[in-house]
Amino acid sequence: MPFVSARTQKSSYDVIVVGSGAAGGQSAYTLCMDGAKVLMLEAGRKYDPALETPMFQTPDMAPLGGAGTPEKPFGFYDATVDGGWEVPGEPYVRASEEDAGRFEWWRARMLGGRTNHWGRISLRNGPYDFKPYSRDGLGFDWPISYEDLAPYYDRVELLIGVYGTSEGLENTPDSSPGCLLPPPKPLVSDLLVAQRAKRLGIPVIPGHRAVLTQPLDFAHTPARLHPGNATAQKILAEDMRSRSACIWATPCGRGCSIRANYQSTTVHLPPALASGNLDVRTDAMVYEVTLGPEGRASGVSFVDRTTGTHQHVTARAVILAASACESVRILLNSKSAPFSNGLANSSGKVGRYLMDTVGSSLGGQIPLLESLPPLNEDAASGHQLYVPWWLYQDQHAGKLGFARGYHIEFGGGRRMPDNGTGTKMEWLTDGSYGAKFKQDMRRYYGSFVYFDGRGEMIPNDHSFCEIDPSVKDKWGIPVLRFHWEWSEHERRQAAHMQKTFADIIGAMGGRTEGAAQADGARAIAPGGSIIHEVGGAMMGASPATSVTNQWCQTWDVENLFVTDGAVFASNADKNPTLTIMALAWRAADHILERMRRKEL
């Protein structure tokens, strides 16, 4: 009985995993496939993508044409339920409401967490990204190098299925042979961006996304991932065989009932459950890691949201994988005599060096793309191609005025019309209405391109979270208060993005929708809004300056691990999810090894 209740759960486990998203899913998968008994605790409800995903529903079937509301911020059909920028009864506090100091916190209270709706963009950090301080004197080095994590990137790509290519570009790592699936065909607009950007010296290469462009190699991959473990191989082979390849329709953000893309609920949890080693308890809101004798974690306390009762469960080891800020919150709320400032916080670094991704956007209209013949351009639902950061040398020579890079995600094409189609068109139509309006819409539909910059933020002393002294959530659990500040590096980077986007749109013969924003402070999206928040329990080489070691193990409590984005020592422009999974796999391998040696 894999989904358990207070009545059916075991009295103790090898490992408790708090959270069921990318980090929790990967941690539990690795542990369970190797025989460890795991209890996963998820704050939100059980969620079944096979039954609940709105695969082919169209906007006319949804309230408000599917438009976003505070209850469904990314649109009615976004996979996220019980989540968003605000969660009823679960407030958080911002130290500043000024734009520059604003932090937004996206949460998803559901099985699988944010992996159900994420963009599936799966980029590896490169060698520079693990040693940023050594390279330019800013921020912090990780206690690991790219070579330490590369084998785990390979494994994650093989397990979840990632399309892309190896291009041999600077700090944009190649995957080992056979790890990547072939990339999807680009759209007309993609090819035009590629042609014109290249004229400006900007490289455009296939994107990397966790979407199955062909079936997984179930005959060979399981043996590669689980050598010497026949049971794991059999379970995984069966599971890989049951995942369908992409059918080139319906947006990935709705989730995928045929399991053609990665979400924890469709990829990590099914084989882990099939192993018989995973119990999952949903509606279990963890608020404290309890400390036992000898300074070891004894288990966790949580609120059963269905009854409101407080419960406790024990294990040999505890993994926090609740998302960076929620894991920080649990640590800071776990107070005891030896840890009056929060568990594993002897360094005082828990909550510190919170980072998000620098984000800035610009769209344009391209006459060359007007009035094209009907084409089905649903494709892989985006990110067929992208622009990796390309100015490493100029930047290192100090020519750019900001220290870290960005990549560009872009899109266009004849996407499914929705409640935003044909709106805000005055800049092109001079306010047409009537028969002329309908002609204008036929002309312009599919002729837009948009560019999103995703850049590295350098950790700073002014961006952190702490426990608010007075505000509590509806269960009485103290909540987080966020402090946020961008540095000149991020602001200048955002202004550089804007200029680059305008240059590309210009090179495509198009016009920008509104002028490119030269003021970086106005160009940059608020902290947290890219939903790549990481840091807060940084890994490092010393207990004095970091919270965990290279194995995601807290320095202070030997059987307590943090495997989500909280351990990031820097936040490269590469989207964090693939790195979270690679780190979680590596940490879980370490835990298994320590357990075999009876050290945990």
């Binding site: 609940e52 169209t58 090819l191 094209l372 084409l375 028969a435 309908k438 819409m441």
Partner: protein, 205 residues
């Protein structure tokens, strides 16, 4: 829109109007409904008015229909906006209990009031009773905020919002998708990408 402008519009409408019609244009029940919550059923198809009551009065719906069809009339390719349920879409939108929608409700209903007042002022009739050419005469003055007279900016912002709602409502229907030649949202075994001949014609091959 600020309260002063609202009051001015309402007063103008009251002064210019015979009572029964004015009652229709000004009907503005307070929204007391709740939203669909954070965990609605995503799989089912919803009818307009199923989640919260539609609130436009009959005269408002009549006016709404004329206006949507001035913006998206029937032509050789597709029917008009009102023929595919866009009035219901807009009524659902301005009856929704969310902050943005409550704001849009004020803009739209104030805009209706202004249209009626302007129709009365220029032609001595309700907007819905005007000839199309007369209705267009009013809309021409407010269809582009950047060119609208200073005193008509607020009305122009209303028109821009109403055009957006009409377009969003229309193009998200099956008829709207067909009008734009959208042919996706169907499962494919292979995705072959754009045809080479097209790429060649665009200089991309």
């Amino acid at each position: 829109m600020d309260r002063r402008t609202t009051i001015k519009w309402v007063l103008a409408a009251s002064a210019a109007w015979s009572f029964p019609a004015a009652q229709g244009a000004q009907a503005r029940p307070t929204i007391r409904a709740r939203g669909y919550g954070t965990d609605p059923n995503l799989a089912k198809a919803y009818r307009r008015g199923e989640l919260w009551p539609l609130t436009m009065s009959a005269p408002q719906r009549r006016l709404a229909g004329f206006l949507t069809d001035l913006i998206i009339p029937a032509d050789a390719h597709s029917p008009s906006a009102s023929a595919v349920g866009v009035v219901d879409f807009i009524d659902e939108w301005i009856s929704a209990p969310y902050p943005l929608h409550l704001q849009d409700r004020t803009t739209v209903l104030d805009g209706f009031t202004w249209l009626e007042a302007e129709a009365a002022r220029r032609f001595g009739k309700g907007f819905s009773d005007l000839e199309v050419i007369e209705q267009r005469g009013i809309c021409d003055a407010i269809c582009d905020e950047s060119r609208a007279a200073a005193g008509l900016r607020v009305a122009a912002r209303f028109f821009a919002l109403y055009r957006d709602l009409t377009a969003g409502g229309f193009y998200s229907t099956p008829v709207g998708r067909k009008d734009l030649n959208y042919i996706g949202n169907v499962p494919l075994v292979n995705f072959d990408g754009p045809p080479p001949a097209l790429l060649k014609s665009l200089g991309l091959l």
